[in-house]
């Protein structure tokens, strides 16, 4: 039984499938997320695949200060993912609300709606920081700290 659990943890560490959700970002961070998926950075090297369906994905990559329009959809997408699941907040807006904080139509950061595992500040973030975030998430998983908060 322990062997099987170990094998499954190994699989989880080696194959994080991501889904990308734009919670009202200006598109700057989204372009950088797609940039990280291009052949130049080639995230498939570490087993990362971009999935279309939230049911298939393990890691929810979120950008943007959550607007009131996207809040319910973000929660819905998060609920559609199956356990174990992780969330990475990409960009300053996603971490804290950024320059849109306290705006009338913004809830201010992903963690005001759903639990976040890794924060990456930056405006816009660079693909290297996204790689770093995934690395941090994986390192956290290996130490069996998945679910706690990390700073990247």
């Amino acid at each position: 039984m322990r062997m099987i659990k170990k094998a499954i943890t190994w699989g989880t560490v080696k194959s994080p499938w991501i889904i990308h959700f734009n919670a009202g970002a200006c598109n700057g961070c989204d372009i950088e997320v797609l940039d990280a998926l291009t052949p130049r950075y080639d995230l498939e090297r570490v087993g990362i695949l971009k999935q279309g369906s939230p049911r298939h994905a393990d890691v929810l990559i979120c950008t943007g200060a959550v607007t009131l329009q996207t809040r319910d959809r973000l929660i819905q997408i998060y609920d559609q993912m199956s356990h174990p699941k992780f969330v990475i907040a990409i960009g300053t807006c996603a971490c804290t609300g950024g320059i849109f904080d306290d705006c009338y139509c913004v809830t201010g950061g992903i963690d005001s709606v759903i639990p976040v595992d890794v924060y990456i500040p930056g405006c816009a973030v660079r693909p290297e920081s996204i790689l770093r975030a995934v690395d941090t998430l994986i390192a956290g998983l290996q130490e069996k700290k998945g679910g706690e908060h990390h700073e990247a």
Binding site: A7, I8, T9, W10, G11, T12, K14, S15, W17, P39, D42, E44, R45, G47, Q51, G52, S53, R55, H56, D58, Q80, S82, H83, P84
Partner: protein
Amino acid sequence: MLLFLEYIFKIFIFPGVLFLSVYSFVLEFTDRKLYARMQSRVGPPWYQPLADFLKLIGKNVIIPADANRFFFSIMPFVSLAAVTAGFMYVPLFGTSAVFSFRGDLIIVLYFLAIPPLAGFLAGWYSRGVYATIGATRILTQMFAYEVPLFISLLAPALIADTWSVSEITAFYAAHPLYTLINLPCALTALIAFQCKLERAPFDSPEAETEVVSGALVEYSGRLLAFFNMAHSCELVLVVSLFAAIYLPFMTGIIWLDFLLYFVKTLFILVFLTLMRASMARVVINRVITFFWTFLSPVALGQIILNLLLRGVLHI
């Protein structure tokens, strides 16, 4: 008793379930690595398909409230079982499969038709919008490739004068030059197989940019793992069947034939991957048009040619 044990070994270990699943991981990795190299990427490490499978095994299964629980959870296993059963009738090395009888080519073709049908039912009983669209696309595409595929697999059988895969392999191994006659239908079969496997340019049933991931959109965890496994096992079955019918070259030495099997299957896989990497997705109605106006006539022409060769020239 000994015969019984031998069959158990053949079904579950070699060349049965264990070999099939291990080789499906190998082929999936080779496919993804080649695909990555063709896009000048590094590509995944060798253990990637295994890691994906183990991870999905460990995840929770979510069954949508509207879905039919029974059909939703049984379909991955139906698909996998059909592929495994079909694999028993295909000779891998040498000329004898685990089981063979007169007409087992038809059985293999019907087993090959079950995974798309299982995919259709899986999508249909998920009751999701994207899943339903993907499911209908699977069925629509089936109408496109099934006829050219059947015709182009039956054309070699006409010359060999048998409906059994093992006997076809034995015939062409004895007369290697006759395989050259079947080159046109080998091409149509390759394209039809690509369509059956739902790989680009015929991947509109699971087109990520249009219908998220088609019929399997609601699947998660263990069920998705077995669907993915069934899909790569189908790739192994298709490639082995293609090698058995169109590339039946043998040396007669058993270990050399075994090596040759890997060479042949990887050789075919290179073509399938090249097609996937170099072409963009075709719209579903153009898939139908293409298959009915180009591939079916070529395959039919092959049938007529083979009939003439057999009837008039008595080869």
